[in-house]
């Protein structure tokens, strides 16, 4: 298993899409901070004081983490990295060398998870650095270590859950284009679909609470609603483990072309 993960990491290290995604993660953090700053300046001197009192690096973090942009980018990257094995036919080399299929699947989960977390950390780091330079890290003392850690770790877990779903889709569809489309839909379209279904079935159950994106939005706050953190952790673990288990069982039975 160690050798498979090392081999996957070697591929990741030599993967151009990975570095492009890292750059985009960093650029989007800087761009968002500069856009907010330019917006503040454009409002005029009277409003600036009022608005400037509420923005900081931590508030920028809250805004960045709540966006669907990051999961969408991760979905595209995982599709390229995983489905590319089928597109290039290289998955055949792995299987025909007698590597256990479950281990192949798990290594994809582990390495894609690591890639996604690295991009997340880069985005977080650039948000912090740019926000701190422009407004200070937390000049109004909103954040505590525990609520900041809960937000970041909770979001990290939910992004890993997304990564597990993306790997599942990419291994199952085995087509780069199809898996990019489905993964983008999972991030952008599926939450809208859940909302629509919720209109039909009424407010007794909030379906978005059971999908990853709803919890990402709920946790992208330094003062989340009570129970949101626990719910986010449970949903994240369920999708992470569920995607891994079902995906590895399906891959074990799949013929490889």
């Amino acid at each position: 298993m160690t050798n498979i993960i090392r081999s996957e990491l070697y591929k990741l290290k030599n993967s151009k899409p990975f570095y492009i995604c890292l750059f985009v993660c960093a650029a989007i953090a800087v761009f968002l901070a500069l856009a907010i700053q330019m917006g503040v300046v454009a409002r005029g001197t009277e409003d600036v004081a009022a608005i400037a009192d509420s923005i900081s690096a931590v508030s920028l973090l809250e805004q960045t983490l709540g966006l669907t942009f990051l999961p969408t980018l991760f979905g595209v990257f995982v599709s390229l990295f995983v489905s590319g094995e089928f597109y290039n036919g290289t998955m055949k080399n792995y299987v025909s060398k007698g590597v256990n299929r479950v281990q192949i699947y798990l290594s994809k989960i582990v390495v894609c998870g690591m890639a996604v977390l690295t991009m997340y950390v880069v985005n977080f780091a650039f948000s912090c650095i740019t926000g701190t330079i422009l407004w200070g890290f937390d000049p109004y003392g909103v954040a505590t270590f525990s609520n900041l850690a809960a937000m970041l770790l909770g979001e990290g877990l939910l992004l890993l859950a997304y990564s597990s779903i993306f790997v599942f889709v990419s291994m199952w569809l085995r087509s780069i284009v199809a898996s990019i489309a489905v993964n983008i839909c999972a991030v952008s379209l599926f939450p809208t679909l859940l909302m629509a279904v919720n209109y039909v079935i009424g407010d007794n159950v909030t379906l978005s609470n059971y999908w990853i994106s709803g919890n990402i939005t709920a946790l992208a706050s330094l003062a989340p609603e009570s129970g949101a953190v626990l719910q986010g952790i449970i949903v994240g673990l369920c999708y992470l483990l569920g995607g891994t288990i079902i995906g590895s069982i399906l891959f074990k039975k799949q013929d490889i072309k």
Partner: protein
């Protein structure tokens, strides 16, 4: 240990159709097994099952006389259909991926293999810019990483120019000779296959319809005289007793004579004078392609 591959009643069914139907193949250590068949005959599916890419619907596979296929497949290398390489990486990086995967600590194996397949000078060129011949040779190097004893090659000559074909052929013969590598190879270029293979299997509509060694092929394709008579048993007796001839009788009752070929007229006269009606006396000589074509037409 004699056998590298043993299959028993191996089957694969796709959408209710038997793509591979009860195939029994035994490949001995050191063999170069030429696998012949038309498009869609089941060659690739059979090879995919051997290499673990497809699950058999029925039957069994034994590799190196063991049932632990996952473990034994570590000794197998394969190139099935198109060359499967990472296009954005160099040849060295491609091999590094598999060196790490197989847990080989000796980094020297990568340049060694590149030299062996003639890609030692490929340098930093990305494999997407390789010619098809270079890709095929790199695939052979990828297949050879690890403790390789058996190579599965599906159409490795496809798309190669004559020089590329010769390079791949020379490489395979060298590997077979020097490393005692057992190889199963399918190809539509039968003339090329006949320059390498030591035994052959012919698959048709999923069924293995013939299996023979290169010596047997030589004998079957040897210059011959095909004789068709009204009484085969009498003709057999006459040929044995009067001229001590070396011959075979085909399934459709023709006699194929392998010697006394320059005395065709006398042999015909002798048969007729002994009361036999000779309806055909045809000289012939074949190569593998001709033999295969005849086999497909049901002539043999």
């Amino acid at each position: 240990m004699d056998f590298v591959v043993q299959t028993k009643d191996l089957c694969k069914v796709f959408s209710g159709k038997n793509v591979v139907n009860r195939v029994n193949i035994n490949i001995r250590r050191g063999d170069i097994y030429g696998f012949i068949g038309e498009n869609g005959a089941g060659k690739t599916t059979f090879m995919r099952m051997l290499s673990g890419l497809a699950e058999p619907t029925g039957g069994t596979i034994r590799l190196f006389e063991s049932d632990d296929l996952e473990e034994q497949r570590k000794r197998i290398g394969c190139t099935i259909e198109n060359p499967a390489i990472y296009p954005a990486m160099t040849a060295r990086q491609n091999l590094e991926v598999y060196r790490i995967l197989m847990g080989i600590s000796d980094k020297g194996i990568v340049p060694e293999l590149l030299d062996l397949v003639g890609l030692g000078n490929a340098g930093k060129k990305k494999t997407k810019d390789f010619s098809l011949g270079m890709k095929q040779r790199l695939m052979i190097a990828v297949a050879m990483i690890g403790n390789l004893d058996f190579l599965i090659l599906d159409e490795p000559m496809n798309g190669l120019d004559p020089m590329g074909i010769k390079e791949v052929r020379d490489l395979l013969l060298k590997l077979n000779k020097e490393k005692k590598l057992t190889i199963i190879i399918s190809s539509h270029i039968l003339d090329e296959l006949s320059r390498m293979a030591t035994c052959y299997g012919v698959i048709h509509k999923g069924n293995l319809i013939d299996e023979f060694s290169s010596k047997e092929l030589e004998r079957r394709c040897h210059r011959n005289l095909k004789i068709v008579v009204d009484d085969v048993y009498k003709a057999e007796h006459l040929l044995t007793t009067t001229v001590s001839a070396n011959f075979d009788v085909t399934a459709d009752g023709a006699i194929v004579l392998y010697d006394h070929l320059d005395e065709a007229a006398n042999i015909g006269k002798m048969l007729v004078s002994n009361g036999l009606a000779v309806s055909a006396l045809v000289p012939g000589e074949q190569d593998l392609e001709g033999y295969f074509m005849d086999l497909m037409r049901g002539k043999k």
